[in-house]
Symmetry: C2
Subunit: 593 residues, 2 copies
Amino acid sequence: MQDYTPPLDDISFLLDRVLDLPALLETERFAELDPEVVHEAIEAAGTFIAEVIAPTNAIGDEMGTQLQPDGTMVTPDGFKEAYAKLVEAGWGALTFDPAYGGGGFPETVGIVLQEFMVSSNMAFSMAPLLTQGSIHAINSVADELVTETYLAKLVSGEWTGTMNLTEPEAGSDVGALRTKAVPNDDGSWAITGSKIYISWGDHDMAENVIHLVLARTPDAPPGTKGISCFVVPKIMVNDDGSLGEPNDLKVVSVEHKMGINASPTCTMSFGDEGGATGWLLGNEFDGMRVMFVMMNMARLSVGVQGLGLAERTLQGALSYANERVQGKVVGTPKEDRTSPIVGHPDVRRMLLDMRSLTEAMRGICLMNAVAMDRAGSLADEDARQAAEDLNELLIPITKAWCTDMGVEVTSLAIQVYGGMGFVEETGVSQFFRDARIAPIYEGTNGIQAMDLVGRKLPMRSGGVVTDTIADIRATAAALSADDELAGIGARLAEATDALDEATQWIFGHAGEIRDVLAGATPYLRMWGLVVGGWVLGKSALAAAEWAADDGPADFCAEKVRTARWFADQHLSTVVGLTARATSGASLMDEASL
Amino acid sequence: MQDYTPPLDDISFLLDRVLDLPALLETERFAELDPEVVHEAIEAAGTFIAEVIAPTNAIGDEMGTQLQPDGTMVTPDGFKEAYAKLVEAGWGALTFDPAYGGGGFPETVGIVLQEFMVSSNMAFSMAPLLTQGSIHAINSVADELVTETYLAKLVSGEWTGTMNLTEPEAGSDVGALRTKAVPNDDGSWAITGSKIYISWGDHDMAENVIHLVLARTPDAPPGTKGISCFVVPKIMVNDDGSLGEPNDLKVVSVEHKMGINASPTCTMSFGDEGGATGWLLGNEFDGMRVMFVMMNMARLSVGVQGLGLAERTLQGALSYANERVQGKVVGTPKEDRTSPIVGHPDVRRMLLDMRSLTEAMRGICLMNAVAMDRAGSLADEDARQAAEDLNELLIPITKAWCTDMGVEVTSLAIQVYGGMGFVEETGVSQFFRDARIAPIYEGTNGIQAMDLVGRKLPMRSGGVVTDTIADIRATAAALSADDELAGIGARLAEATDALDEATQWIFGHAGEIRDVLAGATPYLRMWGLVVGGWVLGKSALAAAEWAADDGPADFCAEKVRTARWFADQHLSTVVGLTARATSGASLMDEASL
C-alpha cells in the first residue's frame, strides 16, 4: 500500500459547508475556538498521525502483541515509540476538559482524528480509544477520589484504560455476568472473576492500565440491574499519586485473531490471590448507566473504524488502478494495446462504489458527531433536544451501516488489486481482515438493529423518526428544485418513500415484536443508505452553491458526481429492501433450524 | 468447527427430483451406470472425504505448504498421507475415461465430490482439481506421445498437474505473456521464463508434477493468437515411463496469502540453466484453445468452491446457534432467562439467508454440471445444443455469483459466531479467508460479467438468453398455479421481469459497449439471483409433488420454506438492481479517478 494521506479537503468541505461546524463553534461552550484553529489542529494531527502512526501498521499485523512467558505483554516493534510521541504531542487529549489537561475541542474533531488513526493503524488506535471511553465513564460520575487519582493521567495518555464487560457466558447478554465484588474494610472492593475479549488488557506502552470492571456485589439483583462498575488499576496508586504494588490481576491468554493482531484481546483473571482491589465508580448498581454513558461515543467510534479502513483502501485502490497496466480498455485507440486498469468500466464501477460509500460513511459519522456536540452545547432547549434525538437515532445506523460498509469497501479494494490483493505483502488484505471485527463488537450489528427498532423508533412516539424523514424529504425537494441535481433528488425521494413505507409497517406492528425484529437488519440497511444519500445530497447542494460562488470548480463538480453515483447505484437499491424489512417472522419461525 | 457431514439428502433430492439425473444416466454414454451406483459412489466418496480430508484443514491453514532452504516444498502434517489415501481410493479418477483408468462417471458427480472436497479442505482440494484440468487439456488434443506418457499417471493421481498462465505483466490480459519456447532438435522445446501465482507449483505429495505452460514460440504473432501450450514435467520421464533427471525448472518463492495457505502459490522459474524441456500440446498457437477446453470446467469448479465453503460454515453456524445460550428470546416464557441464540429473530434471519443462498448455489452448480453432461451425451442434436447453450450461459453466473455468495455466507457465519468467529481457533474465519480468493482467480468476477454480456448474451443473436428467460417464466407460472407456491411464483415472475427489462436495455445498447460493461457486474448479480430462485422454485415444485406422493413430509416442507425464504428475501431485491445494471457509462467516464 502507498502512504496514507489524510483527506483534509473532504473533511473541511463537510464540516464547514455541509454540517455547519462554524455555528457549533459559536456556542458558549466552544467560545475559545474558531474554525481556523480547528482546521489547523486537524491538519497538524493528520500530518502527525500519517507520519508517526501509519508506519507501524504492517509490522503490527505481522508481529502482534504477544504475551511473554514471564507474563508481560510486548507490543510490536515501534509501538512504544509511536505511543510515546502521541502522548507527547497530546492529540489524545484534544476533546477533553481543560481542567484535566484536555484541549476542550468538540467531539467532532476527535472523530476526525479517530478516522486518521484508524486509517493509519486500527489496532494501535484502539488503545487511545479505550482510554477515551474510560475518561468519559470516570468523568460521568465525578467521584472526587477516583477523578483526582486517575483522570489527568488518562487524559494525558500516560496511563491507558480498558473496559471489562464480557465473560464466557455473558456477551451480548451483559446481564449474565458473574464477576464478584465484595467490600473491603477501607472502602475499596475485592474483585474476583474472569473476563474475556479485553482489548489492550495489558501492554508495555504505558506504565499503568486502569480497568473498568463490571461486577456483582453481594445480594445484587439478577440481570443488568445488579451490575456495578469498579475502577481497578493494574498497579496500585499511592496517595501521593506515585505507583505502588501490582494489583491482583493478570492476563491469562491472548486470542489469536483474524485481524487487529496488534491489539491484544486478553482473557483477564481478577483476584487469583484473593481479590483485586477496586473502587466503586458512582453508586452500587450504576454499572449499566456508566456503560451507557460511553456507549454512544464508543459505537460512533466503531462506525468510524469502518470509515477509516474504507478511506485507506480507497486511496490504495485508486493509486494501484492508475499504475497497473493490464488489458486494452474499450474505446481507446487501436495502438494502445494496454492501459491502466482505471480505464476499465468494471474497475471504475468498483472505485466509484468505494468512493461514494466512503464519503457517505464520513458524512454519516460526522453528522452524528455534530449532533452529539450540538446536544451538549446548544443554548436553545428545543434545538438541543432535537440534536440529541438525531444523535440517538443515528448511533445504531452509524455503527452498523458503516462497519458493514467497511467490510464491503475493503473487499472491493481487494478485488481491484486482483491476485495481488490476496497476497499479504500487498497490505490491502490486512484492512479487510481488520474490518471484519467491527460489525461484531461494541454491540453486534444485529443488536444495533434491535436498538433502532426497539428503542429509537419509539422515541417521542415515533416523532423523531417522522421528523427526520421529513427533513430528508426537504433535502430531496431542494435537490429536485435544481435542474442539475434533480436526478439525485428523485432517487432520494424514492428511497425515502420506501423507508417511510417500511417504517409505517413497523409502527403498525408495534405489538408483534418478533415480526419487527425479523426485518430489523434489512430495515437498518435502508436507513444507512437513505442517510448516506441524504448527507451526500446535502453535500451536492453545498458544492453547487460553492461552485456558483467561485469555489473550486473541479472539486465541486466531483462532489456532485459522487452524490449522483451514490443515488443512481445505491439509493436505487433501497426499494428492493422493503420486502426484506417487512416480511415478518412467521416463515422464519416455521423453519426448522 | 464441528465435524463435516456431506449433505447427501439435499444432493440426492436435487439430482433425482429436480435436475433429472436418471434421464442423463439413460444416455448411451452412461449406459453402464444407474442411479443406485451413482448414489452409492457419492455416499462412499462423501464418507471418505469427510473422514480423511476434513481433518487436515485447520492444520493446513496453520502450517501452510513451505519452501525449504534446499528448494523442496513441504506440505502440512498429514497431507501426504491423506493424498496417498485419496489416490488409493481413486476418487479423483471417477469422471475420466475408463481407457486411462477413469470411472466414466458424469462430470456432475465429479462436481458433487468437488463440493465435498472444498467443504473439507479447499486448499488441499486444489491439487486434484488442477490435475483434473491438466487431464482435460491433454485429453483434448489426443497427441499419442503426450497422452501415453502422462495421462494414466494424472488420472490415477500419482502425478499432479498445474496451469502456468500468469506472469507479472500478464494476468487478466493473458495475451501479454512473454515466456519463450524455442525448438530443440529432438522435437522437444526449450522453455524459459517466469510464471507467478502457480497453485501447487511443487509439493511432496506426488513423485512428479506436470506443468502445462503457456509460452510464445519464435516469430509468434502478438497477443493471444501467438500463444502455444507446452507440457513440462518437473522430472523427465524416460521412454519406459520411469522417472529420469530433474527438468530445468524450480520454485523461486511462495506467496504469503490471506487464505488457502496449504495450497502453495508459487513463482516458478523455467530455464535458468538454458531451458526447461517441454512438448507442444496440440499445434503451435493452440494455447488459448487448449485453455478454453478446460476453462468452463475450471470456472464451474471455482463456483463450487463458494458453495463448498458456504455449506461448511452453514453446518457450523447451525450447530453453534443451537448450542450457544445467550440472551432471552422474545416470545419465550418469563422463567427462561436465556435461550439458545437460534431463537433470536436476527440469528434465524442469518441462518435462513445462509441456507437459502447455499441451496441456491448448489442448485446453480449442479444445474450447470448437468447441462454440461447433457451437452456431451444427449443423442438429439437440438437437445444437445440447447444443453450446451445453457451451460455456456450459466458458466459466468455460476463462477461469479457463487464465489461472491461464498464470501457473503462465510461472513454471515462469522457474524452468527460473534466474537468467537473472529478468533482463529474457532475455525470459521479460515473459511471466510479462503473464500476471498475465489472471486479473483480463474477470471475475476468482473471478467465473468464481461463474458456474460459480451459473449453469452449475443449467442444465437440473443436467442439463448430469451429462451432461458422463457423457461424461467414457465417455472414461475407453474409455481403460481399452485396455491401453496403462488407466492414464490409471483416473486420469481417479478424478478424475471426486472431481468428481462435489463436484458432488453443491453440489447438496445449493443453498439455502446462501455455503457453495457458499466453495468455488467450488477447485471450478472441479477442473473445469479434469478437462476437461484429458478432452481429453488423447481425444487419447491418437486418437493410439493413428492410430498403428495408420500415423500418425507418434513423434508419436503422445509424445501418449500427455503424456496419461499429465498423468494421473499432475495428475489425481492432484484428489481432494485435494475438501475445499477442500466445506468450506462457517462457518469463513470466523467468522474476523475
